[in-house]
Amino acid sequence: MNIIVCAKQVVDVSEMKVDPSTKKPILQGVAQKISDIDKNAMEEAIKIKDKNGGKITVVTVGPSDAKERIKELLAMGADEGVLVTAPDNIDYHMTSTLLAEAVKKIGEYDIILCGEASIDLFSGQAGPRLAGLLGIPQITYAQSVNAEKDKVTADRNMGDYAVTTESTYPALVTVTKEINEPRLPSLMQILGAANKPIQEWTSDSLSSELKPMVETVDLKGVSMERKNIVFQNDLDKSVTKLVDSLAKEGALRG
């Protein structure tokens, strides 16, 4: 079975700060990582391969330093990586078109796995968009996946409903955080990943004249200021002080 995992390099949002003078978020120097749920997609790919055999290819559209991140997924168990180098600030039309072209160039595929959403932009757009471009079924928000030889079934968390969907191949599946616990690679696996191939394709070589349809014209920072009054040690006093403070602020009048 040929499995493709779409994984994105993102900034670690929990490390982000807002510049107090410009009120803009500071993106420079923030640690980069693989978007959390893409590791769940990777883990699921390994489970599918363990069961059905096959090959796992990781595809990332991103800057050239994303190669380091792809190595983490190779260490987890991917067989091969593809990095489509793209300029910063590309939109979903461009990202998904590049992913679609990369998938076509990879050629054979049965199942494409994505995260339900990326941790930085949190759109849940790239997966379904890619499925639309490829004209294949999409199974979103999978909480469990059962991939068999000729079909895949998934239980999906659709909010008000739990939906079970089945599809023949090829199909695109987006997974939730609850689907599994991503493994931590061993030192041996990390060392072994160095010998696994990573292809680098430029965006121009896959699709020429790609232009954004949506442009980010501004990024406004949001900072949150709170009182940060913390009571500790004597519990009874803490509770009394808290209740008094809440009463003073008028928060206890329903």
Partner: protein, 318 residues
Amino acid sequence: MVLVFSDNKNLTFEMLSKASELAKNLNKKVTAVIIGKTDDALAKEYISFGADKVFVAETNLESFKAEEYTDILGNIVKETGAETILIGSNKNGKELAARLGGKLNAGCVIDSNNIYLKDKKLTAERVVYSGNAIAVEQFNSTPAIVTVPSKAFDRLKKDDSRKGDIIKKKIDAEKSTSKILKVQEMKTEGVNVEDAEIIVSCGRGFKNKEDIKLVQELADVLKGKTVGCSRPIAADMKWLPEECWIGLSGHKVKPKLYIAAGISGQIQHIAGMRDSGIIVAINKDPDALIFKSADYGIVGDLYEVLPKLTSAVKEKMG
């Protein structure tokens, strides 16, 4: 033409108000779409909430499937020449909008709560980086697709005297190779955290499902009666229904008072409650992140703090 679609009529009502405003500025009309069985009463309601026209795509599809709905909506977009498409941002709507974007090669912005024209271009703002920033996104091309979450816009005052055409058409959808085997309604308790004035939330600091009564009791004496939770409590443990789940991937709330007990305060949780009036945290770990996002905090074991707090509040409120 501004097209509006959601499988949730309340979302459609809210979007119709924004659609009317945009249409006025663009000098266009608003069309609301219904996919499924003809429902004249609903179509009339859409007109009284601002639609100039209602397009009913008659199908006998039993349940929502993104592939089929995308095909139908795509055909309607082509037939009506719609330039602006607003879609309700529930899970169905998001995957529909994204696939439609791919199919039509159109720009798409998911989850926008502020949409306007700037330099004559459609502009949509959305929260990014888990609440650390707001991105201002501008469309360079049409059609432009934007999904809108609930409560982003207030619905217009209902005007039953408004007139509009109702167009009914049979539209065939591409058959998808995927099959829906089972649809199960999730259990709900009718909780509405988005409207709640006071919320008491629980996280993984709770050891058993039964212990959730500790937050329930506090919520009761606070007359908030509303219990919320972090993602693991709803999604992993399933101790509370989906409707209590607060955060980036859950509900966005802004009560006057938000109390978080046994919640670590990861940014994805904060993203759902950062607009609350007063934030109170209870956590046994003095270094827990939640204290950075709180106005008041108590360092302590929630199993001791909550009962004490409940009786102290009861006493205070008399």
